[in-house]
Amino acid sequence: MKRREFFKLLIAGAFLTLRGKKSDAKEKPKVPLKEAMFWKRLD
């Protein structure tokens, strides 16, 4: 394989990897902050 083609593949691989990770992060379910049970306000 020529050097130029090798670098093209390397860059394409890196691009796809980073893109893949980004889309995974978007799909992660977000769990909202939950109000606690068993507490009271103090006057």
């Binding site: 379910p29 939950k34 109000e35 606690a36 068993f38 306000r41």
Partner: protein, 324 residues
């Protein structure tokens, strides 16, 4: 409107101004409302043998889907999981795992139970409670390994969904709880009696630490209290201590100390006394009547099981526990 709040989950009873964090690190006051910072965000998720919890009289040989979040209501100097129990949630790597997904994963991994463990489940009470309801509805059992430092009301409410609890009875003096754990013994004893009243299957773990809680007289006192207040059928696990966290200056518990503790508890009337963190015949279950080994264990693994429909396979004596 007043914006100071008091957490009523555990005996610490943290009083928090807006922006302040509870002692367990898992709850905060935001604008006069108390929030859980760990709901659906476990920092530890594993499939373990149920024997690791340890439960020896609860579905032996099955897998437990085990979760924990950061934080603890106590600060034991010997903590084996201090990297997560004494950490703030934001300082741990977490998963986004809502309650329904915990149960789905438990079923996918063929786990008979979900176990709330590793740190202190009380700090992720809301997460545990919601998960427990879904698990029960889908036929998955709920167990927890806890220090038992929780107030009566939340414990009773949780108990409706709990199938089993392993409670760490860390010592039997107020001085030990105050100096070594930053807590108090009395609420733990109360929690044990509540769990028994609520008919949650109960096992007890006592980590035997050289020079700190290995006095045989105290072990006799503790065992007698258990027999009187909880019953002789409650299994107890004497675990071997290994140097860790702030107690690196102490040696591992000698085998003789563990054997003395076991003998003392049996002499006090306890029927099922086990040794943990060490390879020993005390890992196996023997029939209190015919004395034959019914469940032979090596570490966390069941080698042989001679139990038939909850009875000794040799003499048919009923063995207390949850077996199916």
């Amino acid at each position: 409107m007043a914006k100071t709040v008091q957490c009523e989950l555990c005996p610490n009873g943290c009083v928090l101004e807006p922006g302040q964090r509870s002692r367990c690190r898992a709850r905060t006051n935001r604008g006069g409302t108390l929030y859980s910072l760990v709901y659906g965000k476990p920092c530890a998720v594993h499939v373990d043998p149920i024997e690791k919890k340890p439960f020896f009289h609860f579905l032996p040989g099955t897998k437990a889907f085990s979760i924990a979040t950061a934080g603890c209501v106590l600060s034991c100097k010997f903590c084996q999981n201090w990297q997560i129990s004494q950490a703030r949630p934001e300082d741990t790597d977490t998963y986004d795992l809502p309650p329904a997904q915990v149960v789905s994963n438990a079923l996918a991994y063929q786990c008979r139970s979900v176990t709330y463990t590793y740190t202190e489940p009380t700090v992720f009470y809301e997460y545990m409670y919601d998960t427990a309801i879904i698990a029960k509805n889908r036929g998955v059992k709920n167990t927890m390994h806890s220090c038992g430092y929780i107030n009566e009301k939340p414990l009773r409410i949780l108990s409706k969904y709990l199938d089993a609890a392993d409670i760490d009875l860390k010592g039997f003096t107020e001085d030990f709880y105050a100096r070594i754990c930053g807590g108090s013994l009395k609420p733990v004893l109360h929690a044990l009696t509540i769990l028994r009243e609520e008919k949650v299957w109960l096992e007890i773990t006592n980590l035997v630490i050289p020079t700190l809680n290995d006095d045989v007289k105290k072990i006799v006192e503790m065992s007698s209290w258990i027999v009187r207040n909880l019953g002789a059928d409650v299994p107890i696990h004497f675990s071997r201590f290994f140097p860790n966290y702030k107690l690196n200056n102490l040696p591992p518990t000698p085998l003789e100390t563990l054997e003395s503790a076991r003998k003392a508890a049996m002499d006090a009337g306890m029927k099922f006394v086990y040794l943990g963190n060490i390879r020993h015949e005390g890992e196996s279950t023997s029939c209190p009547n015919c004395k034959k080994v019914i469940i032979e264990r090596i570490g966390y693994f069941v080698k042989q099981n001679h139990l038939a429909n909850g009875r000794c396979g040799f003499c048919s004596t009923a063995i207390p526990g949850v077996w199916s």
